[in-house]
Amino acid sequence: MSSPDFSQNYFQLFELPVQFAIDTQLLGNRYRQLQRELHPDRYASAAEHEKRVAVQYSAFVNEAYSALRSPLKRALYLLELKGMSQQEISGQQVDGGFLIEQMELREKLESMHDLVDPDTVLDHLVAEISSDIKIHQAEFEAAYNQSDLTAAASACVKMQYLEKILQEAEQIESELMDS
């Protein structure tokens, strides 16, 4: 079994440059290539311990792929590689204006159930949040490229806030669907 070097960082594992901009097609191709070799199904008739090792390798590759594929996770991982801990990142200050916007978004979401046509309003809201996330991704990339880790971490925190609201919006949507 050819084994990936677990001491490599995720970018090295997929032979990609350590940066926020990513060639998703290349990432996908390298991911599938690694899984072709390591997936436990390739060892279905092998000894038990080989199967277990394959499960571990394959899980590691899955973990690396999921960390690089999502822009937010990728941003967090880049900061982690720069030596920032989760606590340092989440301890970043965000400006008051952003927080007020978040509160407004949340209020809109909470009143969704009382609307006559919640679906359309919700669609608009989801589109708005998604475009905000893109803005903060660009903000992160610029800050990271200038090695301004504080600003990069702050952009990350904003992305986290917005992703969380997006999840809540989807939760509300599925509740509306099921009602």
């Binding site: 072709r36 997936h39 008739s45 499960v55």
Partner: protein, 625 residues
């Protein structure tokens, strides 16, 4: 260890082709398929039938009757004839209530919180009934293929949770089939189509089975199938379309009270009516055959469509959500699975939703079994490498109970498997020596709304100040979608790992016991299993020690102590490669004892560190204030 079969990548010689089967264990019907001469097809019984009704009758003391013969006995012995047992797999009595009411079963509490059916031949679990069905299909395959089955792939609805998967695997083992893999039904269907086409693109699989609805979105890319998202409804299926007709018919007959046998007969009449309405515009139900003096009633296709409309809408909602999860706007192909997808309204609704005419080249009743047979052929090693690889996902989020009855998600739904995720927890009381771990599955935020998979307690945590212990809980989901959870206290190197089985499944001991009563080779299995478990124990101990030595070995141990420990570790490593279980156990225990002193020193060190940490934090707090 040297009885090497073909290495992955090497194609075995023709005479080494191994017999492998794919089995679609359905709610209503079950099928077995195999690849012969490079072609996958279903296997028929002696009367030429490929579908085996998933029905088991327990009215005779001579043993259970399976299939069409059991179906014939259904009206006569309703309580002894188990149909749709798949709906009860891995379910507790409470969950089963609604389905049971509809099926007129008498239920009992089985072992480990599982539901059982009361029959005149004793209490029968859904796992046992399913095992009978699988045993019949296994025997059919042995007869047709002329040899022992080396491996089977059993399909399950993508939306099955951990308990339901474990129950299915248990049933296969009990039915005498060596399970290579559990495969999600929609993924199997995609394989059946994808392998011929060798296309690239995104495929949606709409699978309306007898008792479950599944929707999956997959991407096919140079022989790699990547499941992007999966969703569905375990409580919605083709049976519900039949039930809608039954309810309508009862209204027509002025809501008479039916006996269980009559209800079964009416259900069969409804299914036939549904099937006829796929080609006819009007169908007549001779209600007089079931209810004395009742007049025949006619059902028009539009009427039928009107009362199944809400069910169809429910499936489309799941489709929309699944597309979103997959982050996909459009698909290249749509595959239909399940007999109920022959209903014209469903075909139209699916075409309308995905804006693609669905693929129907392969019989929707056989497509899952065919895909499973192809996957079995690959896994058993009959095909060259690079042929096909499946990357599947976990259908439901896995999490832990935290303070206040809330769920903390550890592995979110649609995460590609296999996956390993760990989360660290700590103690919240000084001197706390145990931590309760409760594993749940589902999308809801409250534990009360989620499915409880297992509970266990991590004991033997050395007493420390609150917050000093680092308890790492690791979730590992294998390629079958089955979960293992281990918990370990990290600061001390004291090994306390626990592996759990879902509380609704059978325990390994139970399976072993049941096997012993039915198969002669059970003893061998047990020995092999024990050896495997001992190897695992040894490996865990070695891994833990390796990590502990790397972290603190140089600081806390003298050269001589370190060397002594390494010698014992090497001896254990050697034994783990051998077959002597007793030796392995003895050496594991010996190493465990030998490393206790080291563990104690690490404990001391961590307590000192923890105390130092607390005072620093307090200091920090004061400065900030």
């Amino acid at each position: 260890m040297l009885l090497q079969i073909a290495e992955p990548g090497q194609s075995p010689l023709p005479h080494q082709v191994k017999l492998a089967v794919g089995i679609d264990l359905g709610t209503t019907n079950s099928l077995v398929a195999s690849v012969r001469g490079g072609r996958a097809d279903v296997l028929v019984d002696e009367s030429g039938q490929f579908m085996l009704p998933s029905v088991v009758n327990y009215s005779s003391p001579d043993g259970p009757v399976v299939g069409s013969a059991a179906l014939e006995l259904a009206s006569q012995h309703p309580a002894d004839t188990l149909v749709s047992v798949k709906r009860f797999m891995g379910r507790g009595r409470k969950d089963a209530g609604k389905d049971a009411e509809r099926s007129h079963y008498r239920l009992a509490d089985g072992e480990e919180g599982m539901v059982s059916f009361v029959t005149s031949q004793g209490d029968i679990s859904p796992v046992q009934a399913s095992a009978e069905i699988l045993a019949v299909l296994g025997e059919r395959a042995r007869q047709t293929l002329g040899g022992e089955i080396e491996g089977a792939v059993i399909t399950v609805p993508a939306y099955f949770d951990d308990a339901q998967r474990q129950a299915t695997k248990d049933a296969a083992t009990l039915g005498g089939l060596p399970v290579l893999r559990l495969l999600n039904e929609p993924t199997a269907a995609a394989v059946a189509y994808g392998l011929d086409s060798q296309e690239e693109g995104v495929i949606a699989v709409y699978d309306l089975g007898g008792g479950t609805f599944d929707i999956s979105i997959l991407r096919l890319h140079r022989g790699v199938f990547e499941v992007l998202a999966t969703g569905g409804d375990t409580a919605l299926g083709g049976d519900d379309l039949d039930a809608a007709i039954v309810n309508w018919a009862l209204e027509q007959a002025a809501d008479v009270e039916l006996q269980a046998g009559q209800y079964r007969a009416l259900h069969r009449m409804a299914r036939k009516a549904k099937e006829s309405l796929s080609s006819e515009l009007v169908v007549e139900l001779p209600l007089g055959d079931v209810i004395a003096d009742a007049d025949p009633v006619t059902l028009r296709r539009e009427e039928f469509e009107a009362f199944i409309q809400p069910l169809v809408k429910r499936t489309l909602r799941a489709c929309r959500r699944c597309l979103r999860d997959a982050d996909i706007d459009a698909v290249d192909d749509v595959v239909l699975v399940g007999g109920s997808t022959r209903v014209p309204l469903i075909r139209e609704a699916v075409e309308d939703f995905f804006k693609r005419p669905p693929l129907i080249d392969i019989d929707p009743d056989r497509v899952v079994a065919i895909g499973a047979a192809i996957q079995a052929d690959i896994l058993v090693g009959n095909r060259p490498e690079g042929d096909l690889l499946l990357l599947d996902v976990i259908p439901l989020s896995l999490g832990l109970e935290t303070m206040g009855g809330l769920v903390e998600k550890i592995v979110p739904r649609n995460t590609t498997i296999p996956v390993t995720r760990a989360q660290e927890f700590t103690t919240f009381k000084d001197g706390q020596t145990a931590l309760a771990v409760h594993i749940v599955q589902g999308e809801r935020e409250l534990v009360a709304d989620s499915r409880s998979l297992a509970r266990f307690e991590l004991r033997g945590i050395p007493p420390m100040v609150a917050g000093a212990a680092r308890i790492r809980v690791t979730f590992q989901v294998d390629a079958d979608g089955l979960l293992n959870v281990t918990a370990r206290e990290e600061t001390t190197g004291v090994e306390s790992a626990v592996t759990v089985k879902p509380s609704f499944g059978l325990s390994d001991e139970q399976i072993t016991e049941m096997l012993q009563s039915s198969f002669s080779h059970a003893e061998e299995d047990k020995t092999a299993r024990q050896l495997a478990e001992q190897r695992l124990d040894a490996e865990q101990l070695l891994q833990g020690l390796d990590a502990a030595l790397a972290a603190d070995g140089a600081e806390l141990l003298s050269e001589a102590e370190c060397q002594a420990l390494h010698q014992k570790m090497q001896a254990l490593r050697d034994a783990a490669r051998g077959e002597d279980g007793a030796l392995l156990r003895a050496l594991t225990e010996e190493l465990g004892r030998a490393s206790e002193a080291f563990a104690a020193r690490r404990m001391d060190k961590s307590i000192k560190q923890a105390l130092a940490g607390v005072s620093l934090e307090e200091l920090d707090q004061e400065v900030r204030e």
